[in-house]
Symmetry: C2
Subunit: 198 residues, 2 copies
């Protein structure tokens, strides 16, 4: 049954899924480049090569489109991070920090700051950020081989993710790569010492 249904619907569904994906990727790029004020459904539709009507079929409101976009790319990044597999803690810390310095973080930051002053965004973005935050924490704990039953370990990992977020913010106006690598190297050592054998 399942196979038949999916086979019968497939070509149209595939096109629809591809359109949706193009819209989400265009929305993140648009937010990262132009900020919330410059990001509308029309601008994104044009960038994705999709009609405005088709875009609104997928995402009835501007808020729908941009929260879905940030969530979609956050999930993509989480999957990539989970695929990292067992490696040394320095590589894990550097990869976690990388999550916060690309276009995804830039897009999320614009959405986040806009939500502070736009009531119709506030609740949705807060809920989205809480979900993404919990997921990043879970992934970090696994990759670092951290034992959260040990007092202080949970807060060590949380502080590391807060530091990563702060490094992302510092990177917004200047290319901060050289300084960041030195901080990451030192904090990877502190975290490694604090967590004990993985």
């Amino acid at each position: 049954m399942g196979v038949l249904t999916s086979a019968a619907k497939s070509p149209k569904q595939d096109r629809s899924r591809a359109t949706r994906q193009r819209l989400l990727e265009a929305a993140v790029a648009c937010l990262a480049e132009h900020g919330w004020a410059g990001s509308t459904v029309s601008v994104v539709a044009e960038r994705a090569g999709v009609s405005r009507g088709a875009a609104q079929h997928h995402f009835p409101t501007r808020e729908d489109l941009f929260t879905a976009a940030v969530e979609y790319v956050a999930e993509e990044r989480s999957s990539a991070l989970r695929a990292l597999g067992p490696t040394d803690r320095h590589t894990v810390v550097a990869s976690l920090v990388d999550l916060y310095t690309g276009p995804l973080f830039r897009a999320a930051l614009h959405l986040w700051v806009a939500a502070a002053n736009e009531p119709q965004l506030h609740a949705r973005v807060r809920e989205l950020e809480a979900r993404v935050g919990r997921e990043s924490h879970r992934i970090a704990v696994t990759l670092l081989g951290a034992d959260e039953s040990v007092p202080g370990v949970r807060e060590t990992v949380q502080g590391l993710l807060d530091m990563a977020r702060g490094l992302g913010l510092a990177n917004l106006l200047t290319d901060d790569g050289a300084r960041r690598r030195r901080v990451v190297s030192q904090w990877a050592e502190l975290v490694d010492g604090a967590l004990g054998p993985g």
Copy 2:
């Protein structure tokens, strides 16, 4: 000479200085509450109880007003922090983090994010952030009694300020105080261990 000049100009200068200060404080409050899009010279002038003309006499452009405002409040906060005097490292770490969770950080964040997409703000805010960042670093080194000639110490302090910035960002949409206190407590201990005797 100096005394005579300053005495002669005093009443008018005092009024002018008081007006300027009211404008700067109103500008920071306005940025924190309404973001960059909702922050104009007119809105700030009204909030400060100053005519639009008087406001423009002090600050010819919107960019002048808001960069001056963030700089002014950053200096106020730095002075308060410097006045902290010798105390334990846990108190120092908590006070540094406090710098990033009030209305000043909220205002600076709005200015910072707006600058990412507004060419006329970009260079000024980048320069301002670099100056404020260097000053915060200097104060942190002194208060923590950190010896930067020891390898890794500089990066430990920088990472701590990045963490404080990330904690400020996490506080933007939710009151994150309880979690923050636990993270601060754990990282104060890690930083204390990493810095050695002060």
